[in-house]
C-alpha cells in the first residue's frame, strides 16, 4: 500500500518535472530560435534562405552551407575597424566607469560633506533622464569642445570632439545608475571597516582602494556587465556624433551595411559577428548576469 502510494507520488513528481522542463524549453526556444535562424542564415545563400523559410530547415545547417557571407562582409565593410573601435570604446568606458562611479558612490555613501544629500538626490533623478533627452545639448557641447590630437606626429588642437572615439567614451563614463548601484552596495558595508582602516592609518582614498573596492566584487561585476551591454549596443549617439568610418563602432556599422546591401545572408553574417562578443560575455559571466539583472531591478 505504502509502496504504491510512494510510486504514484514519484510518478507525479516526474510529470511535474517534465511539465516544467517543457515550459522552460518552449520559453528558451522563443528567445533562442531567432538567434539560431540568424546564425544558420549567415551560412546560406539568399536563395536557400528564402527556400528554407517555410520549414524547420530555416533553423538547421542543411543545404549548401558556406562561410561565403562572412568573407563578403569582411570584403565589403570595414568591420575589423568597427570592431576595434567598439572594443576600445566599451572597454575604456567600462574601466573608467567603474573607477569614476565607484569613487562618486564612495564619497556619497561614506564621507561626510555639505550638500551630499542634494547631490545624491540629483544622481537619482538623473537615472530617469533618457539619453535621447540630452542628445541635442550634448551634441552642441561636444562639437565646441577642444581636444589635443595627433596629426602626422605633431600635437594639434582639434576644435571639436565629433568623429572621434573619445566623444563616444567621455560623456558616458559618469553614469547615474552605476553610481546608484555602487551607492546601494556601499551603504550596506559596515562603517567599522573604514574606521578600523582609519585607526590603522589609512586615508579616505586608501580605504576606498584597499578596503571597499576589494569587497565590492559583485557590484563591480554588475556595473561592468550593464555598462558593457549599454556601450556595445550604443546606436543613437554614434550615428549622430560620428560621421566617418575611422571612429565608427559595430552597431551603426550594421545600419550602414544594411542601407547599401540587400544580401540577407551577409546581413545575418554581420549580425552574427556583432552578437558573438555579447554571447561570449554572457556565457563567461552567466552567474553575474542573472545576479546583476535581479540586483539592479532591470532587464539583463
Amino acid at each position: 500500500m505504502a509502496h504504491s502510494a510512494s510510486l504514484s507520488e514519484s510518478r507525479k513528481r516526474a510529470y511535474r518535472t517534465f511539465g516544467l522542463y517543457a515550459v522552460l524549453v518552449a520559453t528558451a526556444s522563443i528567445f533562442a530560435l531567432p538567434l539560431l535562424f540568424m546564425v544558420m542564415s549567415s551560412l546560406k545563400s539568399d536563395t536557400a534562405i528564402f527556400a528554407d523559410l517555410q520549414s524547420l530547415r530555416a533553423f538547421l545547417p542543411v543545404g549548401d552551407i558556406s562561410f561565403e557571407n562572412y568573407r563578403a562582409v569582411f570584403e565589403n565593410t570595414n568591420i575589423e575597424q568597427f570592431f576595434v573601435n567598439s572594443v576600445i570604446i566599451t572597454v575604456v568606458t567600462v574601466a573608467l566607469g567603474i573607477i569614476v562611479n565607484s569613487m562618486a558612490a564612495f564619497a556619497l555613501s561614506r564621507l561626510d560633506w555639505k550638500g551630499k544629500d542634494l547631490v545624491l538626490t540629483s544622481v537619482i533623478v538623473l537615472i530617469s533622464v533618457p539619453v535621447e533627452a540630452i542628445v541635442v545639448p550634448l551634441l552642441m557641447l561636444v562639437s565646441r569642445l577642444p581636444w589635443l590630437g595627433l596629426d602626422a606626429g605633431q600635437i594639434v588642437i582639434e576644435t571639436s570632439w565629433l568623429d572621434s572615439q573619445h566623444v563616444q567614451i567621455i560623456p558616458f563614463v559618469a553614469h547615474a545608475f552605476s553610481i546608484y548601484l555602487f551607492y546601494q552596495f556601499f551603504i550596506d558595508i559596515p562603517k567599522d571597516f573604514d574606521e578600523a582602516a582609519y585607526v590603522d592609518g589609512a586615508t579616505p582614498f586608501q580605504v576606498y582602494r584597499h578596503i571597499i573596492m576589494p569587497m565590492s566584487g559583485p557590484v563591480i561585476a554588475t556595473v561592468a556587465i550593464l555598462q558593457f551591454l549599454a556601450m556595445w549596443n550604443q546606436y543613437l549617439w554614434p550615428i549622430i556624433a560620428v560621421q566617418g568610418e575611422a571612429a565608427r563602432p559595430v552597431m551603426p556599422g550594421i545600419q550602414q551595411f544594411f542601407g547599401r546591401n540587400v544580401e540577407w545572408g551577409q546581413i545575418m553574417a554581420y549580425a552574427t559577428l556583432v552578437t558573438l562578443p555579447i554571447l561570449a560575455i554572457f556565457i563567461a559571466f552567466q552567474r553575474h548576469f542573472v545576479r546583476s539583472a535581479a540586483g539592479s531591478g532591470v532587464k539583463g
Binding site: A196, A197, G201
Partner: protein
Amino acid sequence: MSRISLKALTKTYDNGYQATRGVDFEIDDGEFIVFVGPSGCGKSTLLRLIAGLEDITSGDLYFDDERVNDLAPAQRRVGMVFQSYALYPHMTVAENIGFGLKLAKVPAAERAERVQKAAKILQLESLLDTKPKAMSGGQRQRVAIGRAIVRNPRVFLFDEPLSNLDAALRVDMRLQIAKLHRELGATMIYVTHDQVEAMTLADRIVVLEAGKVRQIGKPMDLYDKPANTFVAGFIGSPKMNFLSVKASGTSDQGQAVTSPALNNWSLTAAGSFAPQTDGDALILGVRPEHLTLSKTEAGTAFAATVSAIERLGNDNYAYVDIAGSDDLLTVRCADLSSVDVGDPVWISADAARCHLFDAEGETIALPETQG
C-alpha cells in the same frame, strides 16, 4: 603607553543631541579602565572621541602632555578592537594584522617579523594564511587584538569586544585580555555593558549615565560604596534593592530610618552619615546578599510574600512582594528548599551593610566612610 586626560569633554551632534557632557577624569599610564553604563549612556561615544573617530565638540583630550583633539586616529597611535571585529574579509590573518604597518610603509621583512610576534602572543601562528570567514569568533577576536597590538599603540581601545561571543568563549577571552594587559602593561580602555567584564577586568570603572560620569572607582569600591542610586543599581547582579524610608534619628551607631509602608519597620544603618532631619525622605539600599529570609518572625524583620523563586545551583534567589512597593525585593538565600511561591516570610536586613541615599538619589554617607 600613555597617561590620558579628559578635560570637560563634550560631544554634541548636529541634531543637538549631547552624547557626552563635560566628562573630566584622568587615566594613568598602564591602567585598565572600563566604561560601563546602559545603552545610550555615551560610553562608546567617549571611546570614539578618544580614538579620534568622532570630533570633540568642546573640551580637551591629552595623551601625556600632548593635546590630541585635532589629530587623526593613526596620529594618536591608538589600537582599537571593534565589537564586530571589523576584519577585512579579503585579507588573510597576516595581511589583516600587518595592514597598518603596510600603510606606514614598514619594510616587508620587519612587517613579517612584527606580525609573527603578535601572532605568537595571541597563538595565531598556524592561522596566518587563513581568511577571516574560515575562523571561529574567538579566533577572529584574537586577530582583531593582533591588529591592535602590532602597531605598539599608546593606548588600546576595546569597544564591547566580547559581546558577539558565546558565554564560554567570553570567559576565555576575558582571561586572555587580562593576561595581555599584564604582559604588555599597556593603557587599556574597555567599553562594555557587561558588569562581570567590568568588575573582573578593570583597575577602575567609570560609570556613565546620559553622557555624564556618575562615579569612578575601583570595582569593589563601586560595589561597596556607590555614590548614588544609579551606580548602586547598575553595579551588582541582581541589582540592589531600594526601599523608601524616613529619617528617624541619629545615634553613635548610625542613621535610624523607618518605613511607614512596612508597618513602621525600622533599622539603624551603621556608618557615618550627613546629618538628617527626622522625617526627611531617604532611600535605603540593600544588596540581595545582605537581606535574610526567614519563615518565622524575627525581631527586626518585616513581612513579605514570596512571589517567585530562582534556583541557579550555586545561588538561590527569592523575589518577594512587600507592602507599599510595586517592585519585588530580591533576596539571596543559601537554602530555599522549605520555601514556596505564595509563602508568607519575614525579611531582615544587615544594618552594617545598608546604604542610604537622599531623595535625589545621592549617597548621604560621609566621605571618610567612603574611605
